[in-house]
């Protein structure tokens, strides 16, 4: 099979060779069904989520009354908030698809396949995987969109409004496929450069304490800005207030994101020193290995927590104001914003759960040899499972706790009032968070289901 691969340095030739080799490549993968199915499943989830989010958001653009613009603005905000964690899911899916491919490509390369052939094969494979996943995802969207349609706004179910115009669906499928191909191309360089395909472990990012200072500064400035909102209001009206809030919002989120990995690393280092059990020690060490990746995996929740706190407080304030003399549609708006906040928070937890599930599956497959080794040494299977779960959950607590804390600091006086005036709203928000945490935890645990399969066929990984 190496024979045709050696020649053909020209691009067209490379593509031809790749097409020639593709069936061989595809057949070899049959034995590796799980590793093939997982990326397809993740692209499926990504596509379905994307279509659901887009479908939900565009539903509001079918309205054209007085308050339509307000709803549409809010829908766009929610859309942006959801696109961020969705991007993480997409990146995880792409990474998973690329992972297992590395070794096989490296061996192809050793057999003498040209860079062009390897590149073409990779891109083809990624695109094919994504295409199948995206098509399946569209079916999944078809099955789940009616659930989204159950959401009530202005007292009416969204119903059929959540269906994307049919013409969009092929565009989404195409877009997902293209993105997967491009990210495969981008991720390929390392393999092509080192034919041996040895993934050199990246040194853990060295987040610096200076960042903590900067972040504290940002938070202080933000606090000041929020306290003087009325001043901005006098100067520039509502637009200025919204602008300042959005700016503070973004800056604080960036700051949280900048110091998160650093704090995570500090904490993991302390935990590694003091851990009393093997799973705790391992969890801390796994986090230390790459704090940035550990953070990135769950960082989508930062924005969620922020929005959750802002939303809960805002709603508490709003519902305190006397709504009796408000026009009916404005009362609906208040009510609908609370629905929207909850849906957004729930949606981003769902996405973080997906990205954690995909990442953990990839990591488990990646570390198959470690699982086999530990099993041979007689280490109970629960040890590794507990360690992974702990590593994910401790990062999640830090992300959501940290950003919720920042939001609370920004809104300090208001939060106190909200808890007194609207305990129900606060409890609802807390409940949504609890469910979200449970979801992520479940996703982290899911990957341990792969372990028995790995242990049953140890010769594949060693």
């Amino acid at each position: 099979m190496s024979a045709p691969a050696v020649a053909a340095p020209r691009h067209a030739g490379a593509v031809a060779t790749a097409l020639h080799l593709a069936p061989l490549f595809a057949r070899r993968r049959d034995s590796d069904r799980l590793a093939t199915l997982l990326p397809v499943a993740s692209f499926m989830v990504v596509t379905a989520l994307l279509e659901l989010v887009a479908g939900g958001a565009q539903a509001f653009f079918r309205w054209d009354d007085d308050l339509a613009a307000t709803y549409q603005t809010l829908a766009v905000i929610a859309l942006v908030l959801l696109l961020v964690p969705l991007g993480t899911v997409g990146a995880s899916a792409a990474r998973l698809a690329a992972r297992r491919r590395d070794e096989r490509l490296a061996s192809l390369r050793l057999l003498g396949a040209t860079t062009g052939t390897v590149t073409a094969l990779t891109v083809l494979e990624a695109a094919a995987t994504a295409l199948v996943g995206a098509l399946a995802g569209t079916v999944l969207y078809g099955a789940t969109a009616p659930l989204l349609g159950l959401l009530h706004f202005r007292g009416e179910a969204l119903g059929g409004q959540v269906w994307l115009p049919w013409g969009w669906l092929p565009l989404v499928v195409l877009g997902v496929t293209l993105l997967a191909a491009v990210s495969a191309l981008a991720g390929l360089r390392a393999v092509v450069v080192t034919p041996l395909g040895v993934r050199t472990r990246q040194r853990a990012g060295t987040a610096h304490w200076v960042r903590a200072l900067v972040a504290a500064g940002v938070l202080a400035v933000g606090l000041l800005a929020v306290q003087s909102l009325s001043l901005f209001g006098q100067m520039g009206g509502v637009v200025a207030i919204v602008g300042v809030l959005a700016g503070v919002f973004g800056a604080v989120l960036l700051a949280v994101d900048a110091i998160g990995p650093w704090v995570l690393r500090l904490r993991a280092r302390r935990r590694a020193r003091t851990a009393r059990t093997v799973p705790r020690l391992l969890a801390a060490r796994m986090t230390l290995e790459d704090p940035k990746a550990a953070w990135r995996q769950v960082s989508g929740v930062a924005m969620t927590s922020f929005v959750g706190v802002f939303g809960a407080v805002g709603l508490a304030m709003a519902s305190y104001t006397d709504t009796a003399d408000m026009p009916a549609d404005e009362r609906w708006l208040m009510h609908d914003i609370s629905t929207g906040v909850l849906v957004t928070v729930a949606g981003s937890f769902l996405m973080v759960a997906c990205s954690v599930g995909i990442n953990q599956a990839a990591t488990t497959l990646d570390r198959a040899a470690v699982h086999v080794s530990l099993d041979r040494l007689g280490v109970p299977r629960t040890v590794m499972a507990e360690a992974t779960r702990r590593a994910v959950m401790s990062a999640l607590w830090l992300v959501s706790g940290g950003s919720a804390l920042c939001a609370v600091v920004l809104l300090l006086p208001l939060v106190g009032m909200a808890i007194f005036m609207q305990p129900v709203a606060v409890v609802t928000a807390a409940a949504v968070f609890a469910v979200g945490f449970g979801l992520v935890r479940g996703a982290a645990a899911l990957s341990t289901r792969l372990v028995p399969g790995i242990l049953a066929r140890p010769e594949r990984v060693l």
Partner: protein, 242 residues
């Protein structure tokens, strides 16, 4: 002397393969000795080692082990019991990959004791002693990826002994090492034998086998020869390269 390990009629049929990887193998291993298992690639060495160590359950046959709690048939135990046995009573040194890359050298060894319920401080103290004993003083805090192949094998040897395991299984422990380092690693394994432990080592290396007390040769899943090596080179473990 009674055998530490006694295999009878060991047969291993991997699902989907036509001929057995092991075919009615009988083997007795006396405590305090070193046994080399040799044979061509695919002759069943690793399969035999895994059956003896309770990693694989043979299709038929028995493996009686004089465990701390009395004699047990490893081949008849369930997965959990075999895992426990491996964890608590057996030591392993394989070609590579039995250690955790994220952990330091010290932690890798200490973990074996922590899993047995020993408090971390004590586990690390014991691990520290073993590392020092194996010449790794000063490298305790290195992560595994920062050690050379030979150093990593020493850590594995420390891990295999820290639990007090009396029986150590090694599958090509020197397979990935240069010849000088191989000699050092084998010295350490044979030093363990000199303190009363028992070693079963699978190897392709005739030099390694020559230094063991006994050599078992496999071909197509059968034992085709079983010979004692000259005692002088076998027992002391102090001989250096050729």
């Amino acid at each position: 002397m009674t055998s530490l390990l006694s295999a009878r009629g060991l047969t291993m049929h991997y699902p989907g393969s036509t001929s057995p990887a092991l075919d009615s193998v009988d083997l007795d291993i006396v405590p305090g000795t070193s046994v080399a298992v040799m044979g061509a690639s695919g002759s069943g060495k690793t399969t035999l080692l895994h059956c003896l160590a309770g990693i694989l359950r043979p299709t038929t046959g028995s493996v009686m082990l004089q465990a701390g709690s009395g004699p047990v048939d490893v081949a008849a135990m369930d997965d959990a019991a075999r895992a426990r046995l491996r964890r608590e009573e057996l030591g392993f040194v394989f070609q590579q990959g039995l250690l955790l890359g994220e952990l330091t050298a010290l932690e890798n060894v200490a973990v074996a004791r922590m899993l047995a319920g020993v408090p971390r401080a004590q586990a690390e103290a014991e691990a520290q002693q073993w590392l020092a004993h194996l010449g790794l003083t000063g490298l305790e805090q290195r992560r595994l990826g920062e050690l050379s192949g030979g150093q990593a094998q020493r850590v594995a040897i420390a891990r295999a002994q820290v639990t007090g395991a009396r029986l150590i299984f090694a599958d090509e422990p020197t397979g990935a090492l240069d010849s000088a380092t191989s000699v050092e690693v084998l010295d350490l394994l044979l030093a363990a034998v000199a303190t009363g432990r028992t070693l079963v080592v699978v190897t392709h290396d005739a030099d390694v086998a020559r230094r063991c007390g006994r050599t078992v040769v496999l071909r197509d899943g059968h034992v085709v020869s079983d010979t004692a090596a000259p005692a002088a080179t076998a027992a002391t473990g102090t001989e250096t390269a050729r």
